[in-house]
Symmetry: C2
């Protein structure tokens, strides 16, 4: 097929893409956002595997070659969509940790917020959770490394909250703070195996509140 | 390569394999167990992907062709190893559910037992958890279907225990029983992302007991 000529085309397009991004061209940025929104919609309805660059190009009324001027691949589109949400979630979690709330209230906000985020950005965060960061394609290694770091900071934020609670006497040391943090994370993140906000009888907020209730009662310090 | 002749060889060997199994030959069964033990050891130390049938044959002092007399593929070896453990775990969970213990004690036994089982059979159950049952190779569809059924029964056993606890007044209805059951499952099974019994500072039993303590306190019925 045309595989032999593709790298050359890619590299010419790649230069123009890099240039356009560097120039902070408003029309370019708008068009890029439009493509991202179309890709998000298609990934959601047809899944990542079921969506091709041609589908995305069709959706925004252009062709695949023109799309390369904005994104190098379907993978890049997915990474951009997921990266923003994952980073926003981390900022939210760190904001909660650094707030003046008592630790149990921080945990509640984090658990309910994370569940709501899974539903709001369905299915991106779940696809992200399912992807084994250690096994992503070689050309996405830098992205995977960055995401692993974000994951670690997220887990650290939960661990910090639990440690603060133990220190302030509001949370019971039912185990190592990091073991408890991973348990909280697991309870919420395991939903990627079974929760679909479009078909579930129970909504994300209700699930988050159930889990927060169990965790908060489960970690409540015994009243002296 | 020799792919063209493989199905023919396979089918001849396959018939002899089927015959040998049918005859309940003690020597055959012993040798089969020996191969299973060797495979288990190699999957554990080198991982499933890092292990080939040649490695396994070397370990038991035979060659790959002779191995086909016992197992059709590396996948079959893995399935046999995992299937037994998964079914044993289900029997344990259903036994706990059907025991005379109060529901909270049932939950505690199930959580601690499951964590210990993850460590005892490391890394088989984790590799199994990581495998997306929906995406297994077409020739393993029957196995995947059977495993999905076992998973469903396992989840049903936890849901039943929670429902029993709500009925007997020992467990608080902090949400739909199945949502709570999936939360318990998630807390324990998420360990596949981070727990390695060979390197962890905290052992499986301690993790299980931490999580059981949180879940039991979290679901404890309020004292009237």
């Amino acid at each position: 097929m045309s595989d032999g000529s593709k790298p050359k085309m890619e590299s010419g397009i790649g230069q123009r893409r890099a240039q356009a991004r560097g120039q902070q061209n408003a029309a370019y940025a708008d068009r890029r956002s439009e493509i991202l929104a179309a890709a998000a919609k298609l990934f959601k309805s047809q899944g990542f595997r079921g969506t091709s660059l041609v589908h995305i190009a069709d959706q925004v009324g252009t062709d695949r070659a023109s799309l390369y001027y904005y994104f190098s691949s379907k993978e890049e589109l997915f990474d951009v969509l997921v990266t923003d949400v994952v980073k926003k979630n981390l900022a939210t979690a760190e904001g909660i940790r650094d707030s003046a709330d008592p630790a149990p209230e921080k945990l509640r906000k984090l658990i309910v917020g994370l569940m709501e985020s899974y539903a709001e950005h369905y299915p991106f965060l779940y696809v992200y959770l399912q992807e084994n960061m250690a096994h992503v394609a070689p050309k996405r290694q830098a992205w995977a490394r960055q995401m692993r770091q974000v994951n670690r900071r997220y887990e650290t934020a939960i661990t910090d909250i639990i440690r603060m609670g133990i220190d302030e006497g509001s949370i019971k040391a039912a185990g190592e703070p990091w073991v408890l943090a991973y348990g909280v994370m697991g309870m919420v993140s395991w939903t990627h195996r079974w929760f679909n906000p479009n078909t579930s009888e129970v909504d994300a907020r209700a699930i988050g509140e159930s889990y927060a209730e169990v965790i908060l009662a489960g970690l409540a310090a015994e009243r002296g």
